[in-house]
Every structure is written in C-alpha cells, then in structure tokens.
C-alpha cells in the first residue's frame, strides 16, 4: 500500500482539493438561482450532451467497421493502413482549422460545389460549421475519435479467434453476417468503454468548440470559460455550479455505463 503513496498523495490531494474548491464556490444560492432562470443554459447543456454522444456513437459505429476492414486487409496494405493513426497526434486546434478549411462557406467543399455548378455564391453553401446542430463540431470530433476507436479495436480484434470466422464462412455465412454476428459481440465491451470515454472527453473539451462552435446554443465548456474569464467575478460561482453539474453527471454516467462490464474492462485494459 505504501508504494502507492508517491502517486496518490500529490495527485489525490490536488484533485480532491480542486473539486472541493469548485463545488464549494458553487454553493452560493445566487448561482443556482440564475442558472435555473437561464433557460438557454439548459439548452446548451442538452446540446453539449447531444453533440458529445453523437460524435462518440458515430465514431464507435464507423470505427468498428473500419477497424474490421483494416484488420482483414492483406499484409501488403498494412503499412499504409497505419495512416489511420495520424488524426490521433493532430492537436485539436489543427483539426479545428482543417475543419474550417474544408467545411466553411469559403472552404474547399464549397469551392467544389461551385465548380460543379451547384451554387452560385459562397453564401449558398450551407453553414455547416456555425449553424445546424453543431455538425461541424461533430465532424471534427469524429475525425479524431475514429482514429482512437480504431486503435483500441485493433488490439481487441487481435484476440479474436480466427477459427470462428473461418467456420462461419465455411458454413455459408456472408461477410456481413460474419461481421454482425461474430465481430460486433466481440467488440462490445470495448465499444462501451470507448463510447463512455469519448463522450466524456467531448463534453469537457474546449479547444475545438472554441474555434468552430456557435454561440447559441453553446457547448458548455465554452460557456464556462466565458463565465470564468470574460465576465465579472460574480459569475464565477455560476461557472463552478455548471462544472459541478458536469462532474456529477460524468461520475454517474461512468458508473452506470461501466457497471455491467467491470471485469471485462480489466481484461480489455
């Protein structure tokens, strides 16, 4: 037990102290009153949850298909397929700027559309990034998260017993059937973990929404930042209250989702 101390002491202290400070600050009644009054805030919260979970869900779904395809590639392509790992090392801010480059009204896809004669001027191109249901943010997150998901899934796929697949094919299963009946159930524990991890991550991330998010509704990480730094000090308890909600939700979310598969998680790790 004592061996754990070098880590537990400083980290545990700072984290608990940080949490106490945040929650304590939030306990003033004013903060909660103004929060409850502010309906826009609740919409923002909902929006945040929606965007994060959408991105995580899409990444997990697409990632599983892609991981399986890459896994089944003949040896020759394996080196090239390693490209999938690139988004992982891209910093968020670069991904955000790439998203702007491609998807904005003055961006590349818009230019393609105009060359194809679909639109006449740049304003006709749908404002994906700044309006709509946060599609731009979802794209950016999915881009990065798919890479992460594929990395995790490749590890799990390596433990899949090849014979299951061979037998299924011999018995006449189509590739799609093989995928849905064998591969997916094998991946489910990791899918669950990835979904939770990625949702929580997206809820807390700040850099991407700061660049390509819109102001109403906002991702709450941006809201918190604005409340904390760009307005008077009175608003800090509000920010802390928001954070407390987020923290509470995260803990509950973690617990609920990971409870059924706890032992499997240890294996997956």
């Amino acid at each position: 037990m004592i061996k754990l101390l070098p880590l537990v002491l400083p980290v545990g202290f700072l984290l608990t102290a940080g949490t106490i400070v945040t929650v304590g600050n939030a306990l003033s009644a004013n903060a909660w009153m103004s929060l409850l009054d502010n309906s826009e805030l609740w919409i923002s919260l909902g929006h945040t949850f929606f965007v994060s979970m959408m991105a995580a869900g899409i990444s997990v779904a697409l990632g599983s298909v892609l991981a399986w395809c890459v896994y089944r590639l003949p040896k020759f392509w394996h080196g090239l397929a390693m490209l999938y790992k690139i988004p992982l090392i891209l910093p968020h801010i670069v991904i955000a700027s790439l998203a702007i480059l491609f998807f904005s009204q003055s961006g590349l896809f818009s230019a393609v559309a105009s060359q194809l004669g679909l639109i006449d001027n740049m304003h006709q191109f749908p404002s994906i990034l700044y309006r709509g249901y946060g599609l731009g943010i979802i794209f950016a997150y999915v881009f990065k998260e798919i890479s992460f998901v594929m990395l995790m899934f490749m590890g799990v796929l390596r433990r899949l017993n090849e014979n299951l697949v061979i037998s299924a094919r011999m018995l006449g299963a189509s590739p799609a059937r093989v995928f849905f009946t064998i591969v997916i159930p094998h991946l489910v524990p990791m899918m669950r973990i990835c979904f939770v991890v990625l949702s929580l991550y997206a809820m807390g991330a700040f850099e991407i929404p700061w660049f390509i998010g819109k102001t109403r509704p906002q991702m709450i990480s941006v809201t918190v930042y604005n409340l904390y730094f760009n307005s008077s000090i009175d608003h800090q308890p509000e920010a802390d209250a928001l954070l407390s909600i987020l923290l509470l939700f995260s803990v509950v979310f973690l617990y609920v989702f990971l409870l059924p598969g706890r032992r499997k998680i240890q294996d997956a790790f």
């Binding site: 037990m1 070098p6 880590l7 980290v11 940080g18 945040t22 090392i89 910093p91």
Partner: protein, 246 residues
C-alpha cells in the same frame, strides 16, 4: 493539405487550387525563427519533464498494482485512472485556484505539475503492462547473486522497464506537447509553449503561415519518436533484448 496551404499566395474562394504560390510563409518563419525555436524548446522541455515526473510518480504504484495483491485492486485502479476519463475542465479550474494560492501559476513548474496530473494514467497503464510482462525472477536472481536493493533497481529493473517507459512516455509526451488549454490556463502566457504560439495564427486569416507552423508542430513529435526508435533499438541489440512493444 497543410503543405499546399503553406505555399499558397492568394487563394480565393471558388478556385480549387491556389491562384498564386509564394514563399511568404517561409520567409516569416525565417524572420521569426528565434522566437519559434525558443517556444518549441519550452514546449519540449515541459513535455519531457512531464514524462519524467509521471514516470517517477507512477513507478512504484505500478509495481504495487501489478505484482502485489492489494485489496480492492480493481477499485483502486479505476480511481487512479480517473483524471483521463473525467472532463478536464471540471478539475482544472479548481486546481487553478489552488495553484494561485500556492504560487504555482505563471511558472513552468506549475505547468509541468498540471500536465502530469492529467496524463499520468497513460504512463501508469504502460508501466503496469510492463511489470506484468517482466516477472519477478530477474530481480530475485540478482538478489540471489548478492546485489543490494538499489543495485537491483538500477541495473535490473529499470532497464527491463525501458520499453514500457518508452511506450507510456510517448503518449504522455504527445499529450503534454500538444496541449493548449492547460498550459495556457496555468502558464498564463508567461510560459510560452509552441501550442500557445500557434493558436493566434489559426484564429487569424493568415492561413499559409498557420499551415506552415502546424506542419512544424506535427513534425516535432514525429522526429522525436523517430529519434527514440533509432537510439533505443540500437541499445536493445546491444543488450540482446528483443523488441517488446507494450
């Protein structure tokens, strides 16, 4: 994509490729080289220190978790991995407050500390895996032959853990190097890392320069990883170790 951008001159809307090319971005880079290199150095320094600190902090706990049978082991492991699971902002603002009281803001040490807090789980996981792979037998054999504890640590355990250290360290380095938010929050602009230097450019309309700087930003971890691969692989061959990738 980024390469094309960095070379572009004027690139107006409906055109699919730049209308003119020039090296303006590169000229800018040349002029500003001093500042740029300084900020890269700062970033590398705090990233490497974060790796080092997380290694020191995680070494013994990883050994305890991997080898000793602790009660409630699963629970402890889950709790220890939390900083990476829960959203960063929930903790960082509170810790920011505390750092202010402790005088750790606007300085390099505070940045290293906070980066360590949020990225040590990766190192911990890698070290635990490493400990699982290397059994206790080497250490036992060494002790049997008469080595003292610190000798065992220095000459047997640590070299064995090197692959795990590299693997965990790569992830921690990447996270620490590319982080913008935490460095900005705790460092407050005084600690000028490269991510902080890059940020305003991405916001601006000076796309070519931003693209060039982004390429540099990406290239640095690449280079460092390549460097490590080369040197460490040579060490492995000298010691007769196979290449474990944890």
């Amino acid at each position: 994509m980024l390469v094309v951008q960095s070379l572009a001159g004027i690139w107006q809307w409906p055109h699919l490729i730049p209308q003119s090319w020039n090296l303006r971005a590169f000229e800018f880079f040349g002029r500003q080289a001093g500042i740029i290199i300084h900020s890269i150095a700062v970033s590398i320094s705090y990233a490497v220190s974060t790796v080092g600190l997380s290694f020191v902090l995680c070494y013994f706990p990883a050994e305890a978790l991997a080898r000793d049978h602790l009660p409630n082991q699963t629970l402890i492991e889950t709790v220890l991995l939390l900083p990476v699971l829960l959203p960063q902002i929930t903790f960082s603002l509170g810790i920011h407050h505390i750092f202010i009281h402790m005088g750790l803001t606007d300085n390099w040490l505070g940045v290293v500390l906070i980066l360590t807090i949020f990225s040590y789980p990766f190192m911990l996981r890698a070290l635990i895996a490493g400990f699982h792979i290397n059994g206790k037998n080497f250490a036992l054999a060494a002790k049997n032959l008469g080595a003292k504890s610190w000798q065992v640590l220095l000459h047997v355990e640590l070299p064995l853990m090197l692959p795990a250290l590299i693997s965990g360290g790569s992830v921690v380095f990447l996270v620490a190097f590319t982080d913008y938010f935490l460095v900005f929050l705790i460092g407050g602009g005084v600690v000028q890392g490269f991510s902080g230097y890059l940020f305003p450019f991405l916001n601006s309309s000076d796309r070519p320069t931003a693209a060039l700087l982004s390429i540099v930003f990406l290239a640095i971890p690449f280079l460092i990883f390549a460097l490590i691969e080369l040197t460490v692989t040579r060490w492995y061959r000298r010691w007769g170790m196979e290449n474990h990738s944890a």
